[in-house]
């Protein structure tokens, strides 16, 4: 087989065009290194996050009870088809030891460093009190723990802490930390799989790996430190791990009922999809991956563009040689093969090296983007063919294919055209006649411009792509900042409280007392042995027997006014306990039952004494006529006339006796406490203003002044999934039911059945004004047909607004239902009923965290973009300047001074560059908007893309400075070429 002698020129061609080939090589290496490095890390982390659920038996949901749940309650949950694991915790103060082996900085400095450097976890900054949430060692059966270093605590005085917290504070094994004022040795650095992002509370807007962390202790140490002060959280793994959200929602409703029906009360419940500690990190990785893939797409377009330009330039430069070889009998494919060798080898080397560097050199910094913020198990790179394909194979193939197509296109010219230097169509067209009235210099410049028109057009587009890349690096953070302000402005009140149950604010003290008593009796498992239904049954029976409880004198002067309505109250409470939280549902129901039974306890003391005496001896029977006579006698003495037959009386006596036995079975203190609670309830009932039956919803326990109450506005809120414009995913859109003419949502006119939505909804989702669309409630799997009449507010706002009446009709709620308060004054609401408190500051903080989260990536992008931009401008201007180099040499031979030559040539090029930089601004803005829309497609929310003029000025400035550097390099190279050589080449 013959090897073409042309092969020998390859190394020389490489050497002679070192700048060009190094440019391509550098471009490929940089692009592939950064993108493959990021995507390999991101995909691997996404795999780790996705695999954690099975590998670490991560909970499907958790619930919290007011008190430790009864065994019956837990059994009842397990009977639903799940395993329940107590996952109790307590937050206690934490401080870092002063003499730590590995801590060479002060805690404050470390925290400050963490805030500045790690970014993502540094939510609250340094210098604040720290908290640690203590857990018992877990055995891996649920929410497993991954140890990055060390081991689980085995002895007293040992602790294991979250990895990110340790990293943020330079803590290492053997260091000492103070937990609840006791020294503990750090023996393990770990990841608790349910704290991938360390959110202190599920409704927090920011995670915090700086002043909050989680820890594991031995069971004994945990018991000693926590004692009775635990949060009773239970992790639940549903047997059917594939159950979808709709199924889980039903399961969760059943769970609440099961717990509440078995002596405990659910105070909080969180599905895994709503648990940001489990989802936030993985969502962040996914969103960033989309951004980098978009960036890669831009890079590929830029590289394709550069390859086309360089191929054209090569052919043009080699025109005479190609013509000669063709005339000598070379086949085109032989020449194509020859001209393909170097780009292919360079491309292969660049892509291979880039991929290798990406997977080695960049792996750690890229992992660090997430591992510095999120607590994942130790990193394990996983093989993703997609990363190789999109970051390496595609750019390489693109280089090869584009070069090949460019060569084939260019080599379509005849040998003669090559020999005459007419390989390009423009060269064959000939010159344009220019008006004589133009001066020589102007015409000359115009000629330079026209002769290089195609190159200038190329340069224009090259600058456009390069500037776009640069803009992506420079503009994202300012855009986030602008959006942070808009998001903050979108919060209509200083506080938007989302409630787990409709919490009553305008209650009297009596109502608050009544509710508190009801709540305690119904939720405290100490009183679980009291069957309050017995009292309810007794009341019913007494009423059947014609007893007007309202007229019956009670103990301690208890008036029967309220008690007369007791049975209704129980029903009402049960019916009314339809809040959004199952926990409060149960609590409200049980408390309501308690209310209904309160009046029965106001039996005459004689009966009480008799029952008590009888109970002691247990020597009587409820159907004993003597007992009946005694009851009737005592009742009559008390002014009560008992109607009904003996059977009714027997039943009444048995019921009351049972309750009495239960009460006295509590033990003296508990019985006394229960008695006092019942008395509180009765006292509350004395207040005529209190309608215990109306206390179907929880009552806030702190009084709120009238002025504050006046400015409070109720609203309803729900979340629906609306299809996004891009991709097949959905956006979680908040639907607000607000008061028409609201003082807070002034921008949302929802009068007369109007439905409006923030402008962002129309940008992000497939929604048009006036046209109906389908939205899905994922928790019920129910779909809703909605039509939004008009847009309101700003582009960051994706909420849908309607009147509260329309809202309740739409979601089939009762007319007076609500689940939120808007207020400009902070309200002292009972925490157990508050799902979230959204404030403009929190919204700003969320955006700040987003900035922190994106900040490192943006810095990385700028670091990547600027060298690529320099190389790009270098390569593109090189084609123009190279082409003019010979002519410039001529001018020098003719006697032109360098300055004069600059005027003729360089000014034209400079003008084109400046023109391109400036004229590209509006194009860039539009392109950037388009790209960002795609990049942010997988993030929640909508970005309003406004680019400040100062930013664009910076962009142009960087572009021009880059050109100046590059132009100086070219001019220096041109001036070093000897004049005779330049002329000789022309021969």
């Amino acid at each position: 087989m013959h090897i073409s002698p042309l092969a020998r020129r390859l190394p020389r061609d490489f050497k002679n065009n070192l700048g060009k080939y190094l440019g391509i090589f550098g471009l490929l290496v940089m692009a592939v290194t950064f993108t493959s490095g990021f995507l390999v890390s991101a995909y691997s982390i996404a795999d780790i996050a996705a695999g954690m659920r099975e590998a670490y038996n991560i909970e499907d949901l958790y619930f919290v009870t007011m008190y430790e749940a009864t065994d019956e309650a837990l059994d009842a949950v397990e009977d639903l088809g799940a395993r329940v694991y107590p996952n109790f915790s307590r937050d206690v103060p934490l401080s870092l030891g002063a003499a730590n082996k590995s801590t060479d900085k002060s805690t404050a400095e470390a925290a400050a460093d963490a805030a500045e450097g790690a970014g993502k976890g540094a939510a609250e900054g340094a210098g604040k009190d720290m908290l640690v949430r203590l857990y018992k060692n877990r055995d891996g059966s649920f929410d497993g723990v991954a140890y990055a270093q060390g081991r689980a605590p085995r002895a007293a005085g040992e602790v294991a802490l979250d990895r990110v917290f340790c990293a943020n504070h330079n803590l290492g094994l053997g260091d000492t930390v103070r937990i609840a004022n006791e020294d503990f040795e750090l023996v393990g650095i770990c990841t608790l799989s349910d704290y991938q992002a360390t959110y202190k509370n599920a409704d927090d807007f920011m995670f915090n790996a700086t002043t909050f962390t989680v820890a594991q202790l031995t069971n004994e140490e945990w018991e000693r430190l926590v004692g009775d002060g635990a949060t009773y959280r239970y992790s639940v793994l549903i047997d059917d791990r594939t159950m979808d959200l709709t199924g889980r929602t039903t399961f969760e409703e059943d769970l609440v009922d099961a717990v509440n029906d078995n002596g405990s009360t659910v105070s909080d419940l969180m599905d895994r999809e709503s648990n940001i500690g489990l989802t936030f990190a993985a969502d962040d990785v996914e969103g960033d991956s989309t951004m980098w893939e978009t960036l890669m797409l831009v890079l590929i377009v830029i590289m394709a563009f550069v390859f086309v330009v360089l191929t054209d330039a090569t052919i043009e430069q080699e025109s005479a040689v190609i013509g000669t070889l063709l005339a000598s009998g070379y086949r085109k494919r032989e020449l194509v093969a020859h001209y393909m060798v170097l780009p292919t080898l360079i491309g292969l080397a660049g892509c291979t090296l880039g991929f290798a560097l990406g997977n080695t050199l960049m792996a750690e910094p890229m992992q660090g983007l997430y591992y510095n913020s999120y607590s994942f198990p130790p990193y394990v790179a996983t093989w993703h063919p997609r990363v190789l394909v999109i970051t390496t194979v595609v750019p390489f193939c693109l280089l090869v294919v584009i070069t090949l197509l460019g060569l084939l296109r260019k080599l379509g010219a005849t040998p003669l055209q090559f020999l005459r230097g007419e390989a390009s169509a423009k060269a064959r067209r000939g010159g344009m006649r220019l008006p004589e009235r133009l001066g020589f210099v102007a015409r000359f410049r115009l000629r330079v411009f026209l002769r290089n028109l195609s190159h200038f057009v190329t340069l224009f587009f090259g600058i456009m792509f390069g500037s776009l890349l640069l803009l992506m690096g420079l503009a994202l953070l300012p855009v986030v900042s602008i959006n942070a302000d808009l998001m903050a402005d979108s919060v209509p009140a200083e506080h938007l409280y989302a409630l787990k149950a409709p919490l009553k604010l305008d209650a009297t003290q009596s109502e608050r007392d009544a509710w508190a008593a009801m709540f305690e009796l119904s939720t405290n498992p100490v009183y679980a042995g009291l069957d309050l239904d017995l009292l309810s049954d007794a009341v019913d029976k007494l009423e059947e027997m014609g007893v007007d409880l309202g007229d019956m004198p009670g103990l301690d002067g208890a008036d029967a006014d309220g008690s007369g309505k007791g049975s209704d109250k129980g029903d009402g409470a049960a019916k009314g306990a339809a809040g959004s939280s199952g926990a409060s549902d149960g609590a409200a129901k049980d408390a309501g039952d308690a209310t209904s039974n309160a009046s029965e306890f106001t039996l005459p003391p004689q009966i009480e004494a008799m029952v008590e005496d009888s109970a002691k001896h247990r020597n009587w029977r409820a159907d004993d006529p003597a007992i009946h006579a005694l009851w009737k006698q005592v009742a009559q003495a008390a002014g009560i006339h008992l109607k009904g037959n003996d059977g009714d009386l027997t039943e009444l006596i048995r019921t009351l006796d049972k309750f009495h036995v239960q009460l006295h079975a509590l033990g003296d203190d508990e019985a006394k406490a229960a008695w006092e609670l019942l008395q509180d309830l009765m006292e509350a009932a004395e207040d005529e203003s209190v309608d215990l039956g109306s206390l179907k919803d929880p009552v806030n326990q702190t009084a709120i002044d009238d002025e504050t109450l006046k400015q409070v506005e109720k609203f309803s809120v729900a979340t629906l999934q609306v299809p996004r414009r891009i991709g097949d995913s959905t956006e979680a859109v908040t639907v607000y039911g607000i008061e028409p003419g609201s003082r807070y949502w002034t921008y949302a006119d929802v009068r007369n059945g109007h439905i409006v939505a923030g402008e962002g909804l129309f940008s992000k989702c497939n929604v048009e004004p006036g046209e109906s669309f389908t939205a899905l409630d994922r928790s019920t799997n129910k779909t809703y047909e909605l039509a939004v009449d008009d847009a309101c507010n700003n582009g960051c706002d994706l909420n849908i607004y309607m009147s509260v009446d329309d809202f309740n009709k739409l979601f089939n709620k009762s007319a007076d239902e609500f689940n939120g308060y808007a207020s400009n004054v902070a309200l002292p609401l009972d925490e157990r009923y508050v799902a979230s408190d959204l404030t403009p500051d929190k919204m700003r903080s969320m955006a700040d965290q987003m900035q922190d989260s994106m900040g490192q990536i943006m810095t990385l992008i700028v670091c990547m973009v600027i060298p690529i931009y320099v190389v790009l401008i270098y390569l593109l201007t090189k084609t123009v300047i190279d082409r003019s180099a010979r002519a410039i040499s001529y001018m020098k031979v003719f006697g032109y001074r360098d300055r004069e030559i600059d005027r003729l040539y360089m000014r034209t090029i400079t003008f084109t560059v400046v023109f391109s930089l400036v004229v590209n601004i509006p194009i860039l803005v539009e392109l950037f908007k388009l790209l960002l829309t795609y990049m942010m497609a997988d993030y929640s929310g909508n970005f309003v893309i406004e680019l400040p003029m100062s930013l664009m000025a910076r962009e142009v400035g960087i572009g021009f400075l880059t050109y100046l550097v590059v132009a100086c390099l070219h001019m220096r190279a041109i001036r070093k070429v000897s004049l005779s050589l330049a002329l000789k080449v022309q021969e």
Binding site: H2, S4, P5, A320, T324, L325, S328, L416
Partner: protein, 236 residues
């Protein structure tokens, strides 16, 4: 057509442009060149000399008429066949050499040797061309005459049957031109290849066997020279 009539053109026409801009470059050219002849093609600028050469070389198609080379009617050949024709039969020499700048003198000659089934020995050729001492130099390190010798070597190394030379001495001084012409004469004699040389230099008619003269696209002279002089005896 036999071997004696190695090259034959019959009513060959070629024009450029269309409408009013149409220029007829060659008008019904008919002529024959025998095998082993040195044929010199004269004519003023714009007379159609280079176009004549390009048509014979298969670098561009004729509008009408036929061209036979070595019994092949090249005007009927496809582009692919034209490539094979050039590969097999032709050697090209250009006025401005068109050497590959990043190949040495030797390598520039080897570039076309590679295309031939029976190439000439490169070393012999380098000696014959007087380039042996310069074989490792690059084109920009040698004189114009040496570059043209190299270009001639590149054309000859394939051992072509037909050498087409377009103003081979056009860019050279008198002495160098004579050296080049003497070289071509010697090669013609040594290797017996047919040569068509386009030139402005009227003195070259003395060294040629066959003289063609073009004017305004028409063949105005087609004469054989029975008194061929060696180049050394020619002055201009």
């Amino acid at each position: 057509m036999d071997n004696e009539r190695f090259l034959k053109l019959e009513n060959v026409q070629k024009s450029y442009g269309e409408g009013e801009a149409r220029v007829e470059v060659l008008r019904k050219i008919t002529c024959e060149v025998s095998k082993g002849e040195i044929c010199v093609l004269f004519g003023p600028s714009g007379s159609g000399k280079s176009t004549f050469l390009n048509l014979v070389g298969g670098l561009e198609p004729a509008d009408s008429g036929s061209i036979w080379v070595n019994n092949n009617e090249i005007t009927r050949l496809s582009n692919r066949e034209l490539v094979e024709y050039r590969r097999r039969e032709l050697g090209f020499v250009f006025q401005f050499y068109n050497l590959v700048p990043d190949l040495t003198i030797r390598e520039n000659i080897e570039v076309t040797r590679f295309l031939s089934q029976n190439p000439l020995p490169v070393d012999d050729l380098l000696h014959s061309l007087g380039l042996w001492e310069h074989r490792f130099k690059f084109p920009n390190q040698v004189s114009g005459g040496q570059q043209q010798r190299c270009a001639i070597g590149r054309a000859l190394v394939k051992n072509p049957t037909l050498v087409l030379a377009d103003e081979p001495t056009g860019a050279l001084d008198y002495h160098t031109s004579k050296e080049i012409l003497a070289l071509m004469e010697r090669i013609n004699q040594e290797y017996g290849c047919t040569m068509v040389i386009v030139t402005h230099n009227d003195a070259l008619r003395h060294m040629s066997h066959h003289i063609l003269r073009l004017r305004d696209g028409k063949l105005v002279d087609d004469v054989r020279n029975d008194h061929v002089l060696p180049v050394s005896q020619i002055e201009w």
